[in-house]
Symmetry: C2
Subunit: 229 residues, 2 copies
DNA sequence: ATCACGGCGTGAATAAATTCACAAGGAATT
DNA sequence: AATTCCTTGTGAATTTATTCACGCCGTGAT
């Protein structure tokens, strides 16, 4: 029902709202959120329609109420547990990053094939052998996986995840995962992202003049009526 | 001119083509590439229009020729050098990943504020103090940056990059970067991605039945004429 | 030869995402 | 109490992305 992109932006808005709450701000307007998120005010308002929280035309949105509403929309009430697969260079970085970040979306187990890692506790997270997957997943009700194993092993590990009842995979391996319908896969492809940066950096240099003109136009229009970006 | 999404997919197609070449495949059809990339054949063909290489209707695309064409389109002939900022948990993983991967898009310098890291060589990459940025960037003609410093430092570091003439930034810090027009920023936001997975995993469970039906329909149609996905 | 098949490139159609633009309303000001 | 200002929510319009669908062309079978 609600789009892919909207869900992503809602997550971003929530983080921005947390930042605002941290510095004591109590309410916020769509144009402020938009400026922080790099979106337009209209887009922010439209995205917020999905969560069903309504702002006031005089004070905008109440920061803590809106945060709560986005939480209701995005989060599972029971909290969702995730498992990490592959405790290599990237896996360890991810563990350190997600440890103690969002209370109700945390990595509760890690899996690897390396004997040296199995049984250890890294960043507060116990490390298991992949053989134990079904058991550990069932016991902890884990349905989300983060895949950080070598590309050659990725498909195989993904299939084990599916067999263990996983419903979502965040995939860092540069390999196209084939999973049955109903399992959601989100890829993070760093090579692709870096190549995009390289391409558009080049292009941007070429188009810079034009963009600056365009930007100045919108700056001018901003003072006129309506929501300009 | 050519869209954001198309550039990303071209990068993906290239990786898939490299895989095919590695296993000795000499030519490939749009529907095969589409299946591997999770796209439709029509989309593949349309994306390839951007690079200007034409396939044959009988043998599809020549793997090595197409790879070369995509390279001409995506890559800078002079090769683009990138610098890494922040050699922490994530930075080190990134260094290990990109080292010796793409020949003409590599990380040639790393910057940090930590005295213990400055002067060392990590994964074949020399580590400098951020004070040396302007000099090192000029000497090595670096215009791309990978930002992996703590969120609180990100904006500041980004401004230094811009001052040093950088045109593109791959940003891992969960902080909204404000840069002048003409500088391209691509964000990789792992928290957002994981929250998307959590959301759609839940949703997918709910919609699974419907999706399966839909998938079976398209399987059936696949044998009929036209390009179905 | 002729024909049928399967795939390519691409204009046209469709779908999806974003933006415009305006009614409605609350507070401050006159 | 009327006016002004600035905001929200949302239909409608627009822009962007994807998919359809068909003309064309080599190839291999008849
Ligand atoms: N390092 C990065 O920054 C980076 C960036 C982008 C993508 N990636 C991708 O992420 C993945 C991991 O990268 P890395 O640098 O951490 O690699 P790594 O070699 O450091 O770590 C891989 C880990 O996976 C484990 N492993 C191997 N097979 C396994 C299996 N079948 N089941 C469970 N665990 C298994 C290994 O024991 C090892 O601990 C790779 O696919 C890589 O391409 C890494
Ligand atoms: N670890 C992860 O997997 C992960 C995932 C997503 C996002 N991130 C983000 O990436 C960034 C880095 O994460 P990390 O886990 O590597 O953190 P980290 O603390 O391990 O490393 C940060 C590094 O940046 C250096 N640094 C600090 N200020 C600097 C400055 N002004 N200039 C240059 N270097 C500076 C520090 O010395 C340190 O080496 C953070 O913004 C984090 O939120 C990390």
């Amino acid at each position: 029902m609600v789009s892919h992109r909207t869900v992503g932006r809602l997550s971003l808005y929530r983080r921005l709202l947390n930042g605002l709450a941290g510095q004591g701000t109590r309410n916020v307007y769509s144009h402020q959120l938009a400026a922080m998120a790099g979106a337009t005010p209209a887009q922010v308002r439209r995205d917020l329609m999905a969560v069903g929280y309504m702002g006031s035309s005089t004070h905008g949105y109440d920061v803590s109420e809106l945060t709560k509403s986005i939480g209701n929309f995005l989060d599972d009430q029971t909290g969702q547990a995730a498992a990490l697969f592959g405790i290599g260079n990237l896996g360890r970085a991810i563990l350190s990053y997600f440890t103690g970040r969002r209370p109700n979306l945390s990595i509760v187990a890690a899996f690897d094939v390396d004997e040296n890692k199995i049984g250890r506790v890294i960043h507060g997270c116990r490390c298991y052998s992949v053989e134990e997957l079904e058991t550990v997943a069932r016991e902890n009700d884990i349905r989300l996986g983060i895949l950080a194993v070598p590309a050659a092993a990725a498909q195989n590990v993904a299939e084990n995840m599916v067999r263990a009842g996983f419903r979502g995979i965040l995939n860092f391996a540069p390999a196209p995962l084939k999973v049955p319908a109903g399992v959601y896969v989100e890829d993070i492809d760093m090579t692709m992202s870096l190549e995009k940066v390289a391409y558009f950096a080049r292009q941007g240099a070429r188009l810079q003049a034009a963009e600056i003109v365009e930007q100045e136009n919108s700056r001018v229009l901003e003072t006129a009526k309506g929501d300009q970006q």
